[in-house]
Symmetry: C2
Subunit: 566 residues, 2 copies
Amino acid sequence: MGEPLRVLIIGGVACGPKTASRLKRLLPDSEVTMIERGKLVSYGACGLPYYVEGMFPRIEELVETPAGIGRTPAFFQKVKGFRSLVRTEALRIDRERKTVRVMTLDSGKEEDLPYDRLVLATGSSPVRPPLPGVDLGNVWYMRHPDDAASLVERITAGNLRRAVLIGAGYIGIEMAEALRERGLHVTMVEIFDQVMPQTLDREVALLAAKHLREKGVELALGERVVALEGNGNVGLVRTDKRTLPTDLVLIGVGVRPNDTLAREAGLVCSPKGGIVINSFCQTSDPDIYAGGDCVVNHHVAPITRKAFFIPLGSTSNKHGRTIADHIAGLASPFAGISATAVCKAFDLTLGRTGFSEREARELDPDIETIIWAGADKPHYFPQSRPLIIKMIASRRSRKLLGVQIVGRGDVSKRLDVAATALFFGATVDQIGNIDLGYAPPYSSPIDAIATAAHLMVNKLDGIARGISPLEAKRRIDAGNDVILLDARTPKECQSMRLPYENVVHIPLGALRERASELPKEKEILTFCKASMRGYEAQRILNGAGYDRVSFIEGGLLAWPFELTTG
Amino acid sequence: MGEPLRVLIIGGVACGPKTASRLKRLLPDSEVTMIERGKLVSYGACGLPYYVEGMFPRIEELVETPAGIGRTPAFFQKVKGFRSLVRTEALRIDRERKTVRVMTLDSGKEEDLPYDRLVLATGSSPVRPPLPGVDLGNVWYMRHPDDAASLVERITAGNLRRAVLIGAGYIGIEMAEALRERGLHVTMVEIFDQVMPQTLDREVALLAAKHLREKGVELALGERVVALEGNGNVGLVRTDKRTLPTDLVLIGVGVRPNDTLAREAGLVCSPKGGIVINSFCQTSDPDIYAGGDCVVNHHVAPITRKAFFIPLGSTSNKHGRTIADHIAGLASPFAGISATAVCKAFDLTLGRTGFSEREARELDPDIETIIWAGADKPHYFPQSRPLIIKMIASRRSRKLLGVQIVGRGDVSKRLDVAATALFFGATVDQIGNIDLGYAPPYSSPIDAIATAAHLMVNKLDGIARGISPLEAKRRIDAGNDVILLDARTPKECQSMRLPYENVVHIPLGALRERASELPKEKEILTFCKASMRGYEAQRILNGAGYDRVSFIEGGLLAWPFELTTG
């Protein structure tokens, strides 16, 4: 028997411990060491906003196993069989000698750790915007349990009433919910003119913004923060448009991959940041692996292999498995990502997989989109809740390119079905055919995601002529001489309406008889609550010889602008 | 312009109205007539148990659109543009003349309706067992809104206290919940020795049965009902083992396809029942289509094209779309079914897709199975709930063959992901790689379905040596000299234990040090709460030179037999 294989892992949060644990299961005789700069290893960073919100009482739960055992270095040694050194920083890699220079932070002592295989799981760091005042007190990032613990401590002390969140991405939205639940007044400033600009298309983001406002979050979109001001602690956020007094600031404007160590060692990195890896998570040095937030990912075939920096805990864990397997001689390539993401925003869930419309148009000029609105369960079921699904597909291949879903209903199930379909290169025709589970507590006979796919099929086939709410608004605002045909019942019209004068109301059931009331030379936009009836009205009018008819996709449920109520 | 295409549809519940509605959207000039024997059309039969349970107040909701409009013949005429004739029965098909002889039930008047295309959507009928007393009063089936309405009327009148359900399939379980919620004492008699014998494997069914008993449902499994007795109304159910006094009986022992009309017309039907169709839902006469509960379905490729009779509302609706499309000249073949099914049973959800273990073994002698138990969300999240997943895969192709899931957690999401993966012919390796949505309110960083797939991969690769709880019980009961190694913490062991004397307790964290306490010549079965630690213990012992070690898959969470508590 030869010497045991020495594996050194830099980084102890997600990919690192996953790699180490699996490696020791696969190669019990290997000598695995994991070093971590911080004092905690293997914590659930994604849970921090929910700790702040008060959903669980002890922050230690984020570093415990389900059985309540702390994931400490002693735990990893005894249970998993590998050594972990905390408060230990990697300074540089010597690829010739296959050593890493490390420093124990508490003592300043340096030493060289040898490796046969090196794993870089160095993670990412929050972008710290170069703003005046960014180093004031009561300015938080939300990356480490210490961040959440200190924030909760300050909130509990009772002297924080107002918060300004910079950045309306995931962390901003999750923290908006957490801080509202804690009773704070919350303003969210975002330099782009929509929430979740990296994730959601405009009309979907508008629906999310509507809900955030309903929940008391003030949105300052399209505003640039120019300075934080205060005396010791932050007291004021200055944007290019206004001044916001505040007791705390939370910054969530993205993260950057920690790739300096790799760059300095001459490993190939992306010009935009992130270590370049192959499908076995090997870097340009085959004895050095990298995974987690510090690498660049590729989209799953069959859409594109384009590189993306999308750091997620789920991906980090998959990387860890791939790395351990490859070191142990098992081939389990990492397939790539689909940019799937999901986020809770108060009563809504926001999700997306694949490409946004903008991204898709860059890859394929010939795409089609649909917006579908409807319920996640049969309407008679008391837990029935609305969903709005945007779907993007290639016109030529009819393959699904992307899905965005927002709603109070069960978004996450439909999102995961879409992510799975996307993974396997599904056409929208196939999605309408999948044998999904049906019972009234869980779905309608044809599930929402299948119905949305059917709408896409109908649109690709030229049967459904839908336009997006944004396009409808554009045509209305352009002063085009359009008729808005509301196909709902009189009772429905009483409670909520489009705020325009050119609305004509003919319930769908009367349309076959009364179609002739409509002029043939004008453009007609039909709609209803969710636009099934809008679509049917379009088909009835087509059948009656009306050609310039479209329906407004998603109807009033997906209408992201003002509605008249009452 | 020629004559309009005449389409006649027999059956007005699910496939029929779907076909008719879509056809009129695709071919506005076609002349579509739908006939229905009953007085109601297009009702949501799957909602009946929930009406009985009291989840919604008006049974009319089952025949209304989401906007609250009744789906009456007048509605279909005005809104969808087709004619429907209720209380009208089809007597025979004349394929030569292309007419159907129909009778108006109220008047007895007969006439011949001509067709260019005929659609058989004749549905299925509940099996009425040939038992003495089956025609007594207070014996229900649950197929039509009238069944549910009359049952609720009788319950509300207050004179029903005890119910016997015959058959422990979907309808039996849904009705057990409904009647328990209504305060009745419920006994369920099933001729097979497990609940859901057509759907779930034994160990999964045992878990479901445990829950039903906890909810106060008495189970009489492996018992044959021999007679119903009573004076006018049923008062007694006699089985081959006992006598059950009761105030009502509900029979749910399956359904049979209504294929008599098709058989008499000489259309090809399966010897076991059900009209044979191609992927465009055409029968052996290309001008006659069939869909819904009256046909035989095929499993989706790539598993097998084997024929199955599995009637479901979701399939019926897809058939309707396929039929309308083909008549209108669009090719959208029906891909087949995966035998996906889901059912709520009190706090549990039961789901399955693909093949059961028994079915899979008939197709492929070389299969592997796993049982995985764990939480659907991170343990620190208050809404975290357990799931138990059974997965069946081919050893050679590593393709997924079937999945069964049971638990208080979000079963339906994982089931639909599995159904989607199965549809696309996924290997279990691929399932572990899908980029599913991750945020703590919805899942763990590696979702339950992916973790289950990883366990299968580990087992196929010979790394994880798990055995099912049934196999563990068999080895223990056989008096084999096995050691049961409990790897949990002392605290966990206090509250719940396996009721055997040969249990040795060594917490996982102490196992590396204390392994030598275990004899090498004995077989060791390791376990913990969910068996992640059971698996780790197996690997640690393997590393320490112990070869005869397996872990009990699913641990105590999936243990379907008695446990010692307190």
